[in-house]
């Protein structure tokens, strides 16, 4: 089985597991947790396409999460769009927004890129806050998001909404996976590791970065749409810097060097949040301690650590085989001499 087909098989298996959850009669709270996690998971996974694969540390990624949420919510509240049309519109809007922001930002490196993305995010956030008649200002999109039926699918039904979110989530993850394992993905790593070398090899570095930036924004927008459907509203803090910070935490918690690391980080962060909030209001303190332990103790995300250990073990095994072969060869040689 080729890598692509193997990945698609994994995606199918993942979708199957997600779809089995309601069949097993899981309580609504578990479905809610998964839907919430899928929305934030897409935000973190898409951000890792920039941070982990391209070396572009964006502090403003939540802007696209919010743009997807607001574009979708406003389109649905206008009553002029079906859900698929509003979905597509939100992605196109975010892509155009990312194209404009990315065209300005991707030529900058490191801290300059990070802060310019942060500045654009705060600009976008303030537009949401200030344009009260259109966005509802700090109250957000009030009155709920209408969910008219389409193709016989009724997203007002929580189970159907869960299935819809699961499919959208798996499709996005599969696209990201195909992207990072494609020549384009390897070009991103090349740029991350040595931008000058990539340019000397004939890679149009700004164009590749911009493409990555736009794709990543579109996936974040899907996350925003899923959250909008879940909470039946869109709120300014979807696009606040703390949401971008949360996504970076998720990447830190899970690991940036393994494809599903940010997703694991999302699950850890959400679990920590949901458990600690049951016992204490000092959630941030608990999260801070956990992050400190991970950063100072493990110095990498758990998946990164596991991947590294597996790689070390694999290399040790390979070395052992080579040593054995050498020893055998030497023994044979000795015997033969």
């Amino acid at each position: 089985m080729t890598g692509r087909w193997r990945d698609l098989a994994w995606a199918g298996a993942g979708l199957l597991v997600l779809l089995l959850v309601p069949l097993f009669g899981a309580p609504p709270a578990i479905r809610d947790f998964i839907m919430f996690g899928m929305a934030y998971g897409l935000l973190a996974m898409s951000l890792n396409l920039l941070i982990g694969y391209s070396g572009l540390v964006s502090f403003g990624h939540a802007m696209f999460f919010a743009s997807g949420a607001y574009a979708f919510g406003l389109a649905m509240q206008s009553g002029k769009f079906s859900i698929p049309a509003a979905f597509a519109l939100a992605i196109v809007f975010t892509a155009v927004l990312a194209l404009i922001v990315g065209a300005i930002c991707v030529r900058l490196n490191e801290i300059y890129f990070a802060f310019l993305t942060l500045a654009f995010q705060m600009l976008f956030y303030n537009v949401i806050l200030g344009w009260v008649s259109f966005t509802g200002g700090d109250q957000g999109l009030m009155g709920g998001i209408p969910r008219p039926k389409f193709l016989g699918i009724d997203l007002a039904d929580r189970t159907q909404l869960y299935i819809f979110c699961s499919v959208a989530f798996i499709v996005c993850i599969a696209i990201l996976r195909q992207l990072v394992t494609s020549p384009f993905g390897y070009t991103l790593r090349l740029i991350r590791d040595n931008q000058e070398r990539a340019a000397f090899l004939g890679v149009n570095v700004p164009l590749v970065k911009l493409t990555c930036f736009v794709i990543s924004a579109c996936v974040a927008a899907v996350g925003g749409i899923l959250l909008t459907l879940f909470v039946s509203g869109a709120y300014p803090n979807f696009g606040f810097w703390t949401t971008s910070g949360e996504a970076i935490f998720m990447i830190l918690l899970g690991g940036s060097n393994v494809f599903l690391g940010p997703l694991v980080g999302t699950v850890i962060l959400r679990l920590l949040n949901d458990i600690t909030v049951t016992y204490t209001s000092h959630t941030e303190l608990v999260l801070g301690i956990v992050i400190l332990i991970l950063v100072l103790g493990l110095r990498k995300g758990p998946l990164d650590l596991i991947a590294e250990r597996l790689e070390n073990r694999r290399q040790a095994a390979a070395q052992a085989v080579r040593d054995a072969a050498d020893a055998g060869a030497n023994g044979t040689g000795k015997g033969g001499s």
Binding site: A26, P27, D32, F33, F230, V231, S232, G233, V277, Y279
Partner: protein, 422 residues
């Protein structure tokens, strides 16, 4: 005593949730729907962390005062009331999720939404879908219940409403303005929806009652702004006769402390709707004297024995002073208790909503000793609205004048028509 945030329950849920997760073969939150137990569980999404944590603390205090008393007297038909409080950290999406979890995970049959406004709108959408009884006890944003598009049959509000305060306050301000010749006004309010709409409505009704009033300067400091020097200077430079401010909480405390350095309150008349609350009084270094303060909560308003007893009991049991949010939640709790008594403990959302609609309860927080849940738009009316003059020491407010409700009802109708709500 009403138990809060039961630790044992959480642990059981964790174990049950782990079992459910193992079945599903995935990782998930500690969750399982609990069966109907003896206790009536009431979920409270609120803010318990960050700069407005006092909102959650004093809201829960208001609820506990009522529910503890009910539980000590044997509960509702022998069933105790159990509060389950969760921190949303002020994020609307968390408020929505926490509310869903309280209902689906913790088995709460009733929600008392002690969120700030943006969270309240998120909670409203959850209630629209699930249909349990919900009482918004803190959100003052008028549209939550005034806008028919947002109406949810099982959702009510016991919090004061912005438009009521604006009409009552505007009336009072106009009387003072006429008496003292205050024509030129400056405003200084937080730059977000509440600050802008509250200020616009207050000034609109002040002008309605006194046509000579004009606004000559507007300042819009950012929410949670640490330094107000520029704003204070701007207000002083306007040389206005009076200033209106809708600043609140920590922002108001910071503003007063910095304005005192410039003697702002000696140079003009000042009207501050959120000043006379213990949350502010106790935090300000030098509480200003002679500022016109809106009625939030004060032990002398109304100056009755019942109010003083309620205050003393609150401080004794909760170990902190009550705020405006405390009385709003006290009323929410009382309405829930009365409704449960009438349904014989049945927690069905529709049945509870039917009995709460139009319900009048006796309370010292109402004009003439009662408040009513207006059936027309599921919002509380006849609570005490008014203004008084601030004092730098106990009781911190004097000459409190209660606004009559008749003009408020009349002008509210016109306001609703203007907004397209009626």
């Amino acid at each position: 005593m009403s138990s809060i945030d039961s630790r044992r329950t959480g642990r059981r849920q964790l174990l049950k949730g782990a079992g459910a997760l193992a079945t599903a073969g995935i990782i998930g939150t500690p969750a399982i729907v609990k069966g109907q137990s003896g206790a009536i569980k009431i979920g409270v999404p609120t803010i318990l962390s960050g700069r407005v944590a006092v909102l959650g603390q004093t809201s829960v205090g208001g609820l506990k005062v009522v529910f503890d008393k009910v539980n000590e007297a044997g509960g509702i038909n022998g069933r105790k009331i159990e509060l389950v409080v969760r921190d949303s950290k002020g994020a609307p999406q968390e408020a929505a999720k926490v509310t869903r979890d309280l209902i689906n995970n913790d088995g709460c049959q009733i929600i008392i939404d002690a969120e700030a406004s943006s969270g309240a709108f998120a909670v409203q959408e959850v209630i629209r879908e699930i249909g349990v009884l919900c009482i918004h006890s803190n959100s003052e944003t008028s549209s939550l219940t005034a806008d028919p598009k947002l109406h949810v049959p099982t959702a009510f509000r016991t919090a004061r409403q912005g438009i009521h305060d604006a009409i009552g306050g505007g009336d009072y301000a106009a009387k003072v303005a006429k008496a003292k010749g205050l024509k030129k006004w400056a405003t200084c309010s937080p730059d977000y929806a509440y600050g802008r709409s509250n200020t616009a409505e207050f000034m609109e009704y002040a002008k309605h009652f006194d046509g000579n009033i004009q606004v000559v300067e507007e300042s819009w400091p950012k929410l949670f702004q640490p330094d107000y020097t520029e704003v204070v200077t701007k207000v002083l430079n306007a040389k206005a006769d009076a200033m209106y401010s809708a600043l609140w909480g920590g922002d108001l405390v910071a503003f007063i402390d910095q304005a005192n350095l410039y003697g702002l309150f000696d140079k003009q008349a000042s009207f501050m709707v959120n000043l006379g609350d213990y949350g502010v009084v106790d935090q300000v270094k030098q509480f200003p004297q002679g500022v016109y303060s809106g009625g939030r909560y004060n032990r002398t308003v109304p100056p009755t024995k019942e109010n003083e007893e309620w205050y003393q009991n609150y401080v004794k049991t909760q170990k902190h002073k009550p705020t405006n949010w405390s009385w709003e939640n006290d009323v929410a709790a009382q309405m829930v208790v009365e409704a449960l008594k009438k349904t014989n403990g049945d927690t069905n959302g529709k049945k509870l909503a039917e009995v709460i609609k139009g319900m009048t309860i006796k309370t010292q927080f109402g004009v003439g000793g009662s408040v009513t849940m207006r059936a027309e738009d599921n919002t509380l009316v006849n609570y005490i609205i008014g203004y008084g003059l601030s004092l730098s020491k106990e009781p911190f407010i004097a000459d409190f004048q209660t606004s009559p409700w008749e003009p408020i009802y009349e002008l509210e109708k016109q306001w609703k028509k203007k907004q397209g709500y009626a």
